[in-house]
Protein backbone atom coordinates (compact mmCIF):
# COMPACT_ATOMS: atom_id res chain seq x y z
CA UNK A 1 0.00 0.00 0.00
CA UNK A 2 2.77 2.35 0.98
CA UNK A 3 4.51 1.42 -2.25
CA UNK A 4 1.37 2.25 -4.21
CA UNK A 5 1.21 5.68 -2.65
CA UNK A 6 4.85 6.37 -3.40
CA UNK A 7 4.39 5.24 -6.98
CA UNK A 8 1.30 7.38 -7.29
CA UNK A 9 3.11 10.41 -5.93
CA UNK A 10 6.03 9.78 -8.25
CA UNK A 11 3.77 9.43 -11.27
CA UNK A 12 2.06 12.66 -10.37
CA UNK A 13 5.16 14.57 -9.44
CA UNK A 14 7.61 13.57 -12.13
CA UNK A 15 6.26 15.69 -15.01
CA UNK A 16 6.94 18.74 -12.89
CA UNK A 17 10.59 17.78 -12.52
CA UNK A 18 11.48 16.64 -16.01
CA UNK A 19 14.93 15.18 -15.75
CA UNK A 20 14.87 12.93 -18.79
CA UNK A 21 16.39 14.52 -21.86
CA UNK A 22 14.31 14.40 -25.01
CA UNK A 23 14.73 15.91 -28.44
CA UNK A 24 13.06 19.31 -28.87
CA UNK A 25 13.36 19.99 -25.16
CA UNK A 26 14.38 23.62 -24.73
CA UNK A 27 17.67 24.05 -22.88
CA UNK A 28 18.70 27.55 -23.91
CA UNK A 29 20.48 29.45 -26.64
CA UNK A 30 23.76 30.17 -24.89
CA UNK A 31 26.50 27.82 -23.76
CA UNK A 32 26.41 28.93 -20.12
CA UNK A 33 22.62 28.73 -20.02
CA UNK A 34 22.56 25.22 -21.47
CA UNK A 35 25.28 24.04 -19.10
CA UNK A 36 23.42 25.44 -16.10
CA UNK A 37 20.14 23.90 -17.17
CA UNK A 38 21.72 20.48 -17.58
CA UNK A 39 23.52 20.78 -14.25
CA UNK A 40 20.23 21.76 -12.56
CA UNK A 41 18.65 18.68 -14.08
CA UNK A 42 21.27 16.59 -12.33
CA UNK A 43 23.61 15.99 -15.24
CA UNK A 44 27.34 16.30 -14.90
CA UNK A 45 28.74 18.32 -17.79
CA UNK A 46 31.94 16.73 -19.07
CA UNK A 47 32.76 18.55 -22.26
CA UNK A 48 31.12 21.29 -24.25
CA UNK A 49 32.05 22.73 -27.59
CA UNK A 50 30.62 24.37 -30.67
CA UNK A 51 30.01 22.05 -33.58
CA UNK A 52 28.75 23.48 -36.88
CA UNK A 53 27.01 26.33 -35.06
CA UNK A 54 25.34 24.00 -32.57
CA UNK A 55 26.25 23.50 -28.95
CA UNK A 56 27.55 20.00 -28.31
CA UNK A 57 27.71 18.84 -24.74
CA UNK A 58 28.81 15.56 -23.18
CA UNK A 59 26.93 14.79 -19.99
CA UNK A 60 26.67 11.89 -17.57
CA UNK A 61 24.15 11.02 -14.93
CA UNK A 62 24.39 7.84 -12.93
CA UNK A 63 25.31 5.18 -15.43
CA UNK A 64 23.94 7.11 -18.41
CA UNK A 65 26.05 8.96 -20.94
CA UNK A 66 24.70 11.40 -23.49
CA UNK A 67 25.95 13.57 -26.27
CA UNK A 68 23.53 16.49 -26.50
CA UNK A 69 23.28 18.84 -29.47
CA UNK A 70 21.46 22.11 -28.91
CA UNK A 71 20.50 24.64 -31.57
CA UNK A 72 21.67 28.14 -30.68
CA UNK A 73 18.74 29.59 -32.60
CA UNK A 74 15.85 27.71 -31.05
CA UNK A 75 17.53 26.55 -27.85
CA UNK A 76 16.09 23.10 -28.48
CA UNK A 77 17.83 19.74 -28.35
CA UNK A 78 18.27 18.83 -32.01
CA UNK A 79 20.03 15.55 -31.49
CA UNK A 80 20.44 13.30 -28.50
CA UNK A 81 22.86 10.42 -28.57
CA UNK A 82 22.81 7.93 -25.77
CA UNK A 83 26.30 6.47 -25.49
Amino acid sequence: MKKMIILGVLAFASPAFATELTTNMVLGTGMAEVQKKLTDMGYQVRKSEMEHGDIEIYVVKGSKKFEVYVSMETGKITRLKSR
Partner: protein, 191 residues
Protein backbone atom coordinates in the same frame (compact mmCIF):
# COMPACT_ATOMS: atom_id res chain seq x y z
CA UNK B 1 59.76 -30.03 -40.55
CA UNK B 2 58.70 -27.23 -42.82
CA UNK B 3 60.42 -24.49 -40.81
CA UNK B 4 63.78 -24.65 -42.51
CA UNK B 5 62.52 -26.12 -45.68
CA UNK B 6 64.76 -24.99 -48.47
CA UNK B 7 63.68 -25.14 -52.05
CA UNK B 8 64.61 -23.77 -55.37
CA UNK B 9 62.51 -20.74 -56.15
CA UNK B 10 63.28 -20.72 -59.83
CA UNK B 11 65.89 -18.02 -59.52
CA UNK B 12 69.29 -19.56 -59.94
CA UNK B 13 70.73 -20.25 -56.54
CA UNK B 14 68.15 -18.29 -54.61
CA UNK B 15 66.88 -20.00 -51.47
CA UNK B 16 63.33 -19.93 -50.28
CA UNK B 17 62.76 -20.31 -46.54
CA UNK B 18 59.51 -20.62 -44.65
CA UNK B 19 59.69 -17.79 -42.16
CA UNK B 20 56.23 -16.49 -41.25
CA UNK B 21 53.84 -19.13 -39.99
CA UNK B 22 50.12 -18.87 -40.86
CA UNK B 23 49.17 -17.32 -37.52
CA UNK B 24 51.72 -14.51 -37.88
CA UNK B 25 50.42 -13.76 -41.37
CA UNK B 26 46.78 -13.97 -40.33
CA UNK B 27 47.40 -11.59 -37.42
CA UNK B 28 49.38 -9.18 -39.59
CA UNK B 29 46.73 -8.80 -42.28
CA UNK B 30 43.80 -8.89 -39.85
CA UNK B 31 45.39 -6.11 -37.81
CA UNK B 32 46.03 -4.11 -40.98
CA UNK B 33 42.39 -4.62 -42.00
CA UNK B 34 41.03 -3.65 -38.59
CA UNK B 35 43.11 -0.45 -38.61
CA UNK B 36 41.89 0.37 -42.12
CA UNK B 37 38.26 -0.30 -41.17
CA UNK B 38 38.30 1.62 -37.90
CA UNK B 39 40.41 4.47 -39.21
CA UNK B 40 38.71 5.06 -42.52
CA UNK B 41 35.54 3.08 -43.14
CA UNK B 42 33.52 2.55 -39.96
CA UNK B 43 31.56 5.24 -38.09
CA UNK B 44 33.67 6.06 -35.06
CA UNK B 45 30.61 6.58 -32.87
CA UNK B 46 29.14 3.18 -33.62
CA UNK B 47 29.27 -0.17 -31.90
CA UNK B 48 31.15 -1.71 -34.81
CA UNK B 49 34.07 0.67 -34.17
CA UNK B 50 34.18 -0.59 -30.60
CA UNK B 51 34.13 -4.25 -31.59
CA UNK B 52 36.78 -3.85 -34.27
CA UNK B 53 38.89 -2.10 -31.61
CA UNK B 54 38.51 -5.09 -29.29
CA UNK B 55 39.48 -7.40 -32.14
CA UNK B 56 42.60 -5.33 -32.91
CA UNK B 57 43.74 -5.42 -29.28
CA UNK B 58 42.90 -9.13 -29.15
CA UNK B 59 45.06 -9.77 -32.21
CA UNK B 60 48.00 -8.01 -30.55
CA UNK B 61 47.32 -10.05 -27.42
CA UNK B 62 47.41 -13.33 -29.33
CA UNK B 63 50.59 -12.19 -31.07
CA UNK B 64 52.17 -11.52 -27.66
CA UNK B 65 51.46 -15.07 -26.55
CA UNK B 66 52.74 -16.34 -29.90
CA UNK B 67 55.87 -14.25 -29.43
CA UNK B 68 56.60 -16.31 -26.34
CA UNK B 69 55.56 -19.77 -27.47
CA UNK B 70 55.26 -19.56 -31.25
CA UNK B 71 57.37 -20.77 -34.15
CA UNK B 72 61.06 -19.88 -34.46
CA UNK B 73 60.88 -16.60 -36.39
CA UNK B 74 57.74 -15.43 -34.61
CA UNK B 75 59.44 -15.34 -31.22
CA UNK B 76 60.44 -12.16 -29.42
CA UNK B 77 63.83 -13.72 -28.76
CA UNK B 78 64.75 -13.54 -32.46
CA UNK B 79 63.73 -9.89 -32.80
CA UNK B 80 64.35 -8.30 -29.41
CA UNK B 81 63.41 -4.70 -28.72
CA UNK B 82 66.86 -3.19 -28.99
CA UNK B 83 67.31 0.45 -30.06
CA UNK B 84 71.10 0.09 -30.03
CA UNK B 85 70.92 -2.82 -32.48
CA UNK B 86 68.49 -0.77 -34.59
CA UNK B 87 70.99 2.08 -34.71
CA UNK B 88 73.78 -0.33 -35.63
CA UNK B 89 71.59 -1.77 -38.36
CA UNK B 90 70.98 1.75 -39.66
CA UNK B 91 74.70 2.50 -39.89
CA UNK B 92 75.26 -0.89 -41.53
CA UNK B 93 72.66 0.03 -44.16
CA UNK B 94 74.41 3.33 -44.77
CA UNK B 95 77.69 1.47 -45.22
CA UNK B 96 76.03 -0.71 -47.82
CA UNK B 97 75.94 -3.96 -45.83
CA UNK B 98 73.23 -6.14 -47.37
CA UNK B 99 72.78 -8.89 -44.79
CA UNK B 100 69.35 -10.54 -44.81
CA UNK B 101 67.44 -11.04 -41.56
CA UNK B 102 65.14 -14.01 -41.50
CA UNK B 103 62.83 -12.56 -38.88
CA UNK B 104 62.41 -8.78 -38.52
CA UNK B 105 65.59 -6.76 -38.93
CA UNK B 106 66.43 -4.67 -35.81
CA UNK B 107 64.82 -1.53 -37.27
CA UNK B 108 61.76 -3.47 -38.33
CA UNK B 109 61.56 -4.99 -34.86
CA UNK B 110 61.48 -1.50 -33.34
CA UNK B 111 58.61 -0.60 -35.66
CA UNK B 112 56.70 -3.79 -34.87
CA UNK B 113 56.85 -3.18 -31.11
CA UNK B 114 55.94 0.46 -31.70
CA UNK B 115 52.87 -0.46 -33.75
CA UNK B 116 51.69 -3.04 -31.22
CA UNK B 117 52.16 -0.61 -28.33
CA UNK B 118 50.33 2.12 -30.24
CA UNK B 119 47.40 -0.19 -31.01
CA UNK B 120 47.17 -1.03 -27.31
CA UNK B 121 47.18 2.67 -26.34
CA UNK B 122 44.45 3.36 -28.91
CA UNK B 123 42.42 0.41 -27.65
CA UNK B 124 42.83 1.36 -24.01
CA UNK B 125 41.92 5.03 -24.49
CA UNK B 126 39.05 4.00 -26.76
CA UNK B 127 37.74 1.70 -24.07
CA UNK B 128 38.11 4.46 -21.48
CA UNK B 129 36.08 6.85 -23.62
CA UNK B 130 33.14 4.51 -23.26
CA UNK B 131 33.29 4.31 -19.48
CA UNK B 132 31.30 6.60 -17.20
CA UNK B 133 34.48 7.74 -15.53
CA UNK B 134 36.23 8.93 -18.69
CA UNK B 135 33.29 9.71 -21.00
CA UNK B 136 33.77 13.21 -22.45
CA UNK B 137 37.07 13.71 -20.65
CA UNK B 138 39.17 15.69 -23.05
CA UNK B 139 42.66 14.30 -22.42
CA UNK B 140 41.46 10.74 -23.05
CA UNK B 141 39.98 11.73 -26.42
CA UNK B 142 43.10 13.67 -27.32
CA UNK B 143 45.30 10.71 -26.37
CA UNK B 144 43.13 8.43 -28.55
CA UNK B 145 43.44 10.80 -31.51
CA UNK B 146 47.15 11.50 -31.09
CA UNK B 147 47.89 7.78 -30.78
CA UNK B 148 45.91 7.15 -33.97
CA UNK B 149 47.83 9.90 -35.80
CA UNK B 150 51.04 8.34 -34.56
CA UNK B 151 49.83 4.97 -35.85
CA UNK B 152 49.31 6.47 -39.31
CA UNK B 153 52.82 7.95 -39.27
CA UNK B 154 54.15 4.58 -38.11
CA UNK B 155 52.33 2.69 -40.86
CA UNK B 156 53.71 5.08 -43.47
CA UNK B 157 57.23 4.49 -42.11
CA UNK B 158 56.57 0.73 -41.93
CA UNK B 159 55.44 0.57 -45.56
CA UNK B 160 58.36 2.79 -46.57
CA UNK B 161 60.73 0.51 -44.66
CA UNK B 162 59.30 -2.59 -46.32
CA UNK B 163 59.72 -1.07 -49.78
CA UNK B 164 63.24 0.11 -48.98
CA UNK B 165 64.33 -3.18 -47.43
CA UNK B 166 62.86 -5.18 -50.31
CA UNK B 167 65.08 -3.12 -52.59
CA UNK B 168 68.10 -3.26 -50.25
CA UNK B 169 68.02 -6.95 -49.33
CA UNK B 170 66.51 -8.29 -52.52
CA UNK B 171 63.94 -10.25 -50.50
CA UNK B 172 60.34 -9.57 -51.58
CA UNK B 173 58.94 -8.85 -48.12
CA UNK B 174 55.28 -8.32 -48.98
CA UNK B 175 55.17 -11.68 -50.72
CA UNK B 176 56.84 -13.24 -47.67
CA UNK B 177 54.02 -11.93 -45.48
CA UNK B 178 51.51 -13.47 -47.90
CA UNK B 179 52.96 -16.93 -48.55
CA UNK B 180 55.28 -17.08 -45.54
CA UNK B 181 58.44 -17.62 -47.58
CA UNK B 182 61.43 -15.35 -47.84
CA UNK B 183 63.23 -15.75 -51.11
CA UNK B 184 66.84 -14.92 -50.43
CA UNK B 185 69.19 -14.05 -53.30
CA UNK B 186 72.11 -16.45 -53.38
CA UNK B 187 74.83 -13.89 -52.74
CA UNK B 188 73.39 -12.64 -49.44
CA UNK B 189 74.55 -13.49 -45.94
CA UNK B 190 71.71 -14.53 -43.68
CA UNK B 191 71.52 -13.25 -40.13
Amino acid sequence: MPMNNTMNSGHSGARSLVVWDPLVRLIHWSLALSILLNGVVVDEDGNLHKWIGYVAVGLVGVRFVWGAVGTKYARFSVFPLNPVAALKHLTAILKGVDTVHLSHNPLGALMVYNIWATVIVIGLTGYMMGTIRFFGIEWVEKAHEIAFSWLLVSIALHVGGVIFDTWRSGVPLVRAMINGRKRIPKDRTVN
